[in-house]
């Protein structure tokens, strides 16, 4: 007869260990969370080494794929791009005239007081370890000034917010996750609401006033009411507005501005509203660059 090699003692030890773990988690939830958080710091550092190795392997595979395998049909794309260049040359001339006009308008506006955010750039090195949360892992952590609840963006718009940070890496909960909530604003009608993720992997603007005239195509931006994001960052465009009978609010589905499946480099907002003089300095730099031939 065949039997397992495990002894009765190890079985008893396993039962006791698991029972103690469960008892600890349920009887002292906050203390056990704190303990796990405390253990997570050094473990995160240990984990960062293989994580970086696997991440560079992943990038290598992606580059090989993009550089060789995915190049089929490039000739046709090249022809199309040449046609586009001719078209864009014409448009470019027109835009130079517009630039001169914009310069004048800029002087008219009191642009100096406009605030800007301080950011830290970070690279996406992985995806959430489970299938239950829509999250990505960044290669920047507390040692780079990244903390929980900070906002994460790309030049295109909002990505999500930091939910966990250890010394060398951090985890971002994407805007499409149902556990995420960001204060949003419909740009055209100025109606405010809360942007939440859906279980279908999109986002939804909730609590829009019933009398609001929002419509598909309207753009949603951050309202600046929550600390993580400054006002006016693009979140996405409305695709479908729902107004049910008896409901106190409307809601609308949002197509996120950022392609969250192809994230590579992101910016973590460490200070949403930096000093006004920093903005002014930046503006002066921009003006300086434009005056150069």
């Amino acid at each position: 007869m065949a039997i397992s090699r495990s002894t009765y003692g190890s079985r008893r030890l396993a039962i006791v260990l698991f029972a103690l773990l469960l008892a600890g988690l349920f009887l002292f939830p906050s203390q056990s969370q704190g303990l796990l958080q405390y253990i997570g710091g050094p473990l995160g550092q240990i984990l960062s080494l293989p994580l970086a190795a696997f991440s560079s392997l992943d990038h290598g595979i992606s580059e090989t794929w993009d550089g060789y395998v995915a190049l089929q049909g490039v000739r046709e794309e090249n022809r199309q791009l040449r046609r586009d260049i001719e078209l864009l040359k014409g448009q470019n001339n027109q835009l130079w005239d517009s630039v001169a006009a914009t310069q004048r308008y800029e002087n008219l506006l009191n642009f100096k007081q406009q605030s800007s955010s301080r950011t830290v750039s970070a690279q996406v090195i992985g995806r959430d370890a489970t299938n239950w949360y829509r999250g990505v892992i960044l290669n920047k952590g507390e040692s780079d000034g990244v903390r929980s609840e900070m906002g994460v963006v790309t030049p295109a718009g909002v990505v999500g917010r930091i939910v966990k940070a250890n010394s060398t890496s951090s985890v971002v909960l994407l805007v499409t996750d149902p556990n995420n909530a960001i204060a949003g604003l419909v740009q055209r009608t100025r109606d405010e609401g809360i942007v939440e993720g859906t279980s279908h992997g999109r986002a939804r603007l909730k609590y829009i006033p019933l009398l609001s005239r929002v419509q598909p195509g309207d753009r949603v931006v951050t309202s600046g009411l929550t600390g993580a994001f400054p006002r006016g960052l693009a979140i996405g465009g409305l695709t479908q507005v729902e107004k049910s009978e008896g409901d106190l609010f409307q809601s609308a589905e949002i197509e996120p501005e950022v392609d969250l499946s192809k994230l590579d480099e992101v910016l973590v907002i460490t200070a949403p509203y930096e000093e006004a003089d920093a903005a002014q300095k930046l503006l002066q730099e921009i003006h300086g660059d434009r005056k150069k031939p």
């Binding site: 065949a2 397992s4 473990l43 293989p50 392997l57 992985g126 995806r127 489970t130 829509r134």
Partner: protein
């Protein structure tokens, strides 16, 4: 020494899960290598081995996940422990038996995750079951059975010893 090997295994499995596994996505779901590893070690090594590896894997996965810090520790630890209990009461583990065991354990683990997501309506529960649980369970069972089929002879020899040998 064995537990050091488990720690090294966890250091390989969790980064692999978070980086390269997006190449093997089916319907938006990746296999849970942590759960599969904890179950296989539990089946063939016993409750304590399964539990210890599960706890280490869960701890690492919690660091690299947006969820609460306890959820992977409990599910992976529990999976390894349950697999150990199941493995003890079976004289012969065949691929079919192992697949059924993985289906049950992966379903339980997914159930805990679904509960922790706090779905507001029955519709949300069904969406979670359809879009994630069913695919996840099938994927985990298939990968686990495939791994077992690959290393069947070695694992069987390790696990099965005659009473006389003891």
């Amino acid at each position: 020494m064995k537990f050091l090997l488990y720690a090294l295994l966890a250091l390989m499995v969790v980064p692999l899960q978070t980086t390269l596994l997006h190449y093997v996505i089916i319907l938006g779901v990746r296999p849970d290598l942590g759960l599969i590893a904890a179950c296989l070690v539990g089946f063939f090594g016993g409750e304590l081995d399964g539990l210890i590896l599960g706890l280490i894997l869960g701890c690492f996965q919690d660091i690299l996940s947006a969820g609460d810090l306890w959820i992977n520790v409990v599910t992976k630890g529990g999976a390894g422990f349950l697999a150990g209990l199941a493995g003890r009461h079976m004289a012969h583990i065949t691929p079919a038996v192992l697949t059924i065991g993985l289906v049950i354990i992966s379903s339980l683990s997914s159930g805990v995750f679904l509960y922790a997501m706090n779905p507001a309506t029955v519709d949300e529960i069904w969406v979670g079951v359809r879009s994630t649980v069913l695919v996840q369970v099938g994927f985990d069972a298939a990968i686990g059975a495939a791994l077992y089929a690959m290393f069947r002879r070695r694992w069987s020899d390790d696990r099965m010893v005659t009473e006389g040998a003891l």
